[in-house]
């Protein structure tokens, strides 16, 4: 068990190190002077000189990488070209909207998807099953921003049930906070729901074919406990896996959703950085999101050991 933990955590560090190398090399491969990329076109000679010194471009590339990586490790992600503020601080200011959006989406999506998947597996082959599966193929095909605009048009512009866009901090009241997150969460969560629902259905179908499920039915256990207690628990590993894999889907989607709904989060920070060619911000957010992805997947691997004792070797 301990060996497994150590191995798993070590491989997480290796993956993060490789991510850092890729991001570091990207700037060096790009055409033009890396200093110009990192300080922008309007920098003063002093600034350019300062960054050039900081990067130490005359040193061997390993030394340069090590210097950069050790600053990243202590949370120094560089200075934004546009606003001249530390990137880490800018990200910190945008944390709440993004975390709120991610949390509501994940909760909403997992509840809806697992329920739909269980029902589809239970009613396999019927029209309910076909509708769930058909909807899931469809929601893979519609891009987040198209769903977003359709939702805004119907529920905000035509019906006026919900706000068109924007974000309300949770400190200003829970209800308004939630009302601003309903449509973005649905738009962002749709593909995620489709993914989880499909896997839940498949995993449940496999488990429901087992002998002990028939035994449970035979000895008179009601349908609901059979589905939720006997079957779902054993179908857990693939479901939890796909929830983790889907985090990548969500991270990409956050950038788009925040743009559609004008939510001032980390995704919006990146999109604004595209327009101002603010590379330090893009680089910082990539590091952060990759880190989140790797850590979530580490945590999920660790929950396997709770769900399935056989993995604990």
């Amino acid at each position: 068990m301990l060996a497994f933990l150590i191995r798993r955590i070590a491989s997480t560090f290796i993956v993060m190190a490789i991510v850092a190398v890729i991001i570091f090399l990207l700037v060096r491969i790009a055409p033009g002077d890396p200093v110009a990329i990192l300080v922008g076109d309007n920098a003063s000679p002093d600034q350019i000189q300062a960054v050039r010194k900081q990067l130490g471009l005359d040193d061997p590339i390993f030394v340069q990488f090590w210097r950069w990586a050790s600053r990243v490790l202590v949370g120094d992600l560089g200075i934004s070209i546009f606003s001249n503020e530390p990137v880490a601080k800018l990200i910190g200011q945008r944390l709440e909207p993004t975390l709120s959006l991610a949390a509501t989406t994940i909760i909403l999506a997992v509840v809806v998807a697992v329920t739909a998947g269980i029902i589809a597996a239970w009613q396999v082959g019927t029209w309910i099953d076909r509708i769930v599966m058909g909807l899931s193929v469809a929601s893979f095909s519609v891009p987040v921003f198209v769903v977003g605009y359709v939702l805004i048009y119907v529920f905000a512009i035509q019906l006026r049930w919900l706000p068109v866009q924007g974000y309300q901090p949770i400190a200003d009241g829970f209800v308004e906070w939630f009302r601003h997150l309903v449509l973005p969460s649905i738009a962002l969560g749709l593909a995620y729901v489709a993914l989880i629902a499909r896997i839940t259905r498949t995993a449940m179908l496999e488990v429901l074919a087992e002998d002990y499920i028939r035994t449970a039915h035979a000895k008179g256990v009601a349908t609901a406990p059979v589905l939720l207690k006997h079957a779902l628990k054993n179908a857990g590993v693939p479901i939890v896996t796909v929830i983790g894999i889907g985090i990548a889907l969500l991270i990409g989607g956050v950038v788009i959703t925040e743009t559609v709904f004008n939510i001032p989060g980390i995704g919006r920070l990146v999109v604004d950085a595209i327009q101002t060619r603010d590379y330090p911000i893009i680089q910082g957010v990539i590091l952060l999101f990759s880190g989140v992805y790797v850590i979530v997947n580490l945590l999920i691997d660790l929950t396997y050991t709770l769900l399935d004792p056989r993995i604990r070797t």
Binding site: I18, V19, F140, I256, I282
Partner: protein
């Protein structure tokens, strides 16, 4: 035992049409997807002849609703949304097909190497893990902002994050194949290394790769549209579905057609590609079918 020379009943007569019909009935999703995709490809190729002018701005006619003259209405600069939607199909399909082709070829080569040469495996697979950890949209944004926006850069930026997925798939198939008795027999029999690779190890990777290629195509079309939408993709003067939605999104309340038509076109194409993928998967690779 009779030797009657009665002609076979008409129903079982194996005309080519019957064969086609039977194929269609057994592969409904595949045929529906292929048909939609075929029509879209035709439309994309013929866009210069049937769509008309997608670029001229006529400020007098800005934001006009759909009519006989403008089937899909006009956008904020008075351009024909119908013409722009048809032209947009070109970029989407070009990007989708190129990304699918390039990522499969590159992934296949790296995957074969990683599956057969031990030291390559260790290095390459770690690198692939790292690449997979970077959200593909963000990697593409970084590349476009570093290397400049063009269709070529967009294609490369989408290919790079897709490659690790192909490599993993190829490697998994190769590792399963190389333990097979017939491969061991071929090696024991003194077959040359590259011959074993080409004749025995390569063929089983092809069916799952074809399926994977369709899914890559679908996701590439979505990512291209997203990049254009975010302003990190194809330059704004080229009509793409993402660019169209991005430029007119502030007019959603007044002129929803500017956003809905390219959006619907995008959804239909991606759905068609996904249907082709599902259809091929059911036909070619029953093992993957169980996974989804």
């Amino acid at each position: 035992m009779s030797v009657e020379a009665t002609p076979a009943p008409a129903v079982t007569k194996a005309t080519p049409q019957n064969g086609l019909w039977r194929f269609a009935r057994r592969n409904v999703t595949l045929v529906i997807g292929m048909t939609i995709l075929g029509i879209m490809l035709l439309v994309a190729i013929l866009a210069p002849f049937i769509a008309g002018d997608a670029l001229t701005m006529k400020p007098v006619q800005r934001l006009k609703p759909p009519s006989d003259a403008f089937w899909f209405g006009t956008d904020q600069l008075g351009r024909d949304v119908f013409a722009r939607t048809l032209w947009g199909a070109r970029i989407s399909l070009l990007v989708g097909l190129s990304v699918a082709t390039f990522s499969v070829i590159i992934g296949l080569i790296i995957g074969l190497l990683a599956g057969t040469v031990r030291w390559v495996e260790a290095v390459v697979m770690r690198f692939m893990d790292g690449l997979m950890a970077i959200p593909s949209i963000l990697l593409a944004i970084a590349m476009v902002s570093l290397f400049g926006a063009s269709v070529m850069i967009v294609i490369i930026a989408i290919v790079i994050p897709e490659v690790p997925r192909v490599v993993r798939l190829v490697r998994a198939v190769v590792m399963a194949t190389r333990e097979q008795p017939y491969v061991e027999a071929a090696i024991a029999g003194g077959a040359k290394r590259w011959k074993v690779l080409v004749r025995h190890i390569l063929p089983p990777t092809i069916p799952p790769l074809i399926v994977q290629a369709t899914y890559i195509c679908a996701s590439a079309i979505l990512v291209e549209a997203a990049l254009s939408f975010l302003g990190a993709g194809t330059p704004p003067e080229i009509p793409t579905w993402g660019n169209m939605i991005a430029s007119d999104r502030i007019y959603l309340g007044r002129a929803p057609w500017c956003i809905f038509y390219p959006g619907i076109a995008l959804a239909i194409v991606v759905l068609a590609v996904n249907l082709v993928g599902d259809g091929l998967r059911d036909r070619l690779d029953p093992r993957i079918a169980r996974r989804m």
